[in-house]
Symmetry: C2
C-alpha cells in the first residue's frame, strides 16, 4: 500500500570530521521518502523554492516518488547549515534559513486523501493535525516531533498525539515529553498521551518499540529492540532518524498490515536504512541502493543479534 | 569447569532515588561470584577485615562459593559510599575507605592455581598481572579495569592486557583506553592491545562483543550485541557491570568451552544477571535467584530481540 509523507525538503550545508558538503539535498521528507521508496509507493507533500531544479527532481523521479503534492513557491528552499564534532551524536546548527518553508501550508491533492499510510514528519504540530484531518480512512498514521515543539508548543502537540498511531522519537525527546528521567517510564507516559505504539530511537544503540494498553489488537505488551550496526566511520549522521522512520513505515506500508511480526521486521528495516544513511553525506547512499543490498544488511543485523 | 575471581569484597553505603542502604555487602568479586555461582563452581580471592562476620560469610556459603582464598586482615573491610541522582548512569562517590584493601596482595592457595577460568576484576593492573602469572594452564582469562587505571597506570595496564583473553569494559572506558571517539574504532584499537575479544557494555542499551584478527579459532569477525531489559525502576545500578561479567564468564566456565555459540549465549546471560542486579539494593536480588528465574528472563531477552 502507498504511503504519504508530509515534511521538509531542504538543502543542507554540513561539516563533519569526514568532510564538508554545500547545499546537499536533504530534509526529513526527502530522507524518509527515499528510504520508504525501496518498500512501497511514496507520495510527498512539501514545499520548495525556485532553487529546486531538475537535478533535485531527478533524485525523486529515479525512485518513482510521486511529487504531485510538492508545492513550488517564489523564493528559496529551506536551507540548514550545521556541523558535527568528534561526538557525532550532537549537531551544532550554524544557520537555519526557513525561506519558503516558513509559510508552508500543506495542501493535499484530492487523490492523496485516501492514502492508507501517512507519516507526519517533524513540522509544527498544528500542521500535522491539519493534515491528519484532511485524510480519509487512513489505516496507519506515524509521526515525529522534536524538542522545539515539545517545549514551546506542548498543547498543540498533545492534540496531534491523539491523532497519531505510532510515534517515533529519540531518548531525549521521550524523556522531555514525559518529564521523566527513565526511558521505560517515559515510554509508558507517552503512550498514555495517545499513540498505540512508541518507537524510541537510541542513536548508535538501536531502537525500542513500546506498546501501551490500548495498542494494536493482538500485539502484546512486550517491547522489542532492534540494533544498529557498529559502523567504524559515520560520515554524516544527518537524517538517520528520518531514514529509520522511512524504512520502518515504508516496510509496514509495503506489507499492508500491522502485526507484531511486521512491526518487528519494520524495526530492523528502520535500523538498516539508518545505517546506510550515515555512511555518506546527505542522501547520497540512499539514492542508489538495491533491494539486495538492503536484504544483505538485514541479514547482518540478524546475525548481530540472534542466538541461533 | 570452575572459575576463580580476584577482586574486592566490600561494604557499600548507597543512596538512590529509590532509598538508602548502609554497609550493604558489595564489591566486584561479590557481585561477580554470586552471579557466576548460578552457572558453575566459584572461588574467590579477596581481602576482608574484622567487620566481615558470619552474616556476610553465609551469603557466599549459601551459593556454595569457595572462600579458601579469602584473606582476613586486622582492620576494617573496604567501604564505599556513593549516591545516584535521577540520572542513574553516574554515581557520585561520597567516600572511599580502602581500609584492608589498600594492602591487598592476592595470594592464591596452591589448589587454586590450575582453575581453568579466571576473572581479574577491577584492581591495580600490576596485581592483575601478578595473579595471572601465579596461574598454571588456565583456559580463559577475563579482565576488567576502570578510568583510574587507564589514565594513571597505563603502562602497567598495557602489560595486563597482553595476559587477558577477554576484556569487559564500558563505552567510556573503551574510548579512553583507545583515545578514540567512536566505539567501533575504539574496539579495534583495544583488540590490538592484546585481548582476543572485547565486550563493551553500553549501560541500559546492552553490550557488544567485538573480535580481533587474532581471536579465538573459528569465531569469525562479526560483532554480536545483547540487550538489557528496559526496567521501569532501577533501584540501585551498583555492581551491574560486575554482575554482567559474572553471568558472562560464569556461563562460559559452566559450558567449559569458548565458541561463537557459547559466547553469544554468555552475552545474554551477562545481560540477564545485570538486569537482576539493579532491581534491588546491593546484591540482594542476586542472593536468592533460581535457575528457573534466570531461564525465564533469558527467554524475555530472546523475545525482546529475535524476529522469529
Amino acid at each position: 500500500m502507498s504511503i504519504l509523507v508530509v515534511g521538509s525538503v531542504a538543502f543542507d550545508t554540513i561539516k563533519s570530521p569526514s568532510g564538508r558538503v554545500e547545499k546537499e539535498l536533504g530534509g526529513a521528507a526527502t530522507y524518509f521518502g527515499l528510504c520508504a521508496s525501496y518498500f512501497t509507493d511514496v507520495r510527498i507533500v512539501a514545499v520548495v523554492g525556485e532553487d529546486f531544479g531538475p537535478e533535485q527532481e531527478a533524485v525523486f523521479k529515479k525512485r518513482n516518488i510521486d511529487l504531485g503534492g510538492l508545492q513550488r513557491s517564489a523564493g528559496k528552499t529551506f536551507h540548514w547549515g550545521g556541523e558535527y564534532g568528534e561526538n557525532l551524536n550532537e549537531a551544532k546548527t550554524n544557520f537555519t534559513h526557513l525561506n519558503v518553508f516558513e509559510q508552508f501550508k500543506p495542501q493535499l491533492p484530492a487523490s492523496y486523501r485516501e492514502t492508507p499510510f501517512l507519516f507526519l514528519a517533524n513540522i509544527d504540530p498544528e500542521l500535522q493535525s491539519e493534515v491528519r484531518r484532511q485524510m480519509n480512512g487512513t489505516k496507519l498514521v506515524g509521526g515525529d516531533t522534536m524538542n522545539y515543539w515539545i517545549n514551546g508548543h506542548r498543547a498543540a502537540l498533545m492534540e496531534t498525539l491523539k491523532l497519531v498511531d505510532l510515534l517515533l522519537i529519540n531518548d531525549t525527546e521521550a524523556k522531555m515529553l514525559a518529564k521523566e528521567t527513565s526511558v521505560p517510564r517515559a515510554a509508558q507516559k507517552v503512550l498514555a498521551m495517545g499513540p498505540k505504539a512508541l518507537v524510541i530511537k537510541h542513536g548508535e544503540y538501536g531502537a525500542t518499540i513500546f506498546f501501551g494498553d490500548g495498542s494494536f489488537k493482538g500485539i502484546g505488551h512486550h517491547p522489542f529492540r532492534a540494533p544498529t550496526l557498529p559502523i567504524d566511520e559515520v560520515k554524516d549522521p544527518t537524517g538517520a532518524g528520518d531514514s529509520f522512520a522511512g524504512g520502518f513505515m515504508g516496510y509496514l506500508a509495503g506489507q499492508g498490515k500491522v502485526t507484531r511480526e511486521t512491526l518487528k521486521r519494520a524495526m530492523f528495516y528502520g535500523g538498516v536504512m539508518g545505517s546506510f544513511a550515515v555512511e555518506d553525506f546527505g542522501t547520497r547512499r540512499l539514492q542508489n541502493l538495491t533491494r539486495d543490498e538492503i536484504e544483505e544488511r538485514f541479514q547482518i543485523f540478524r546475525e548481530l543479534t540472534h542466538l541461533d
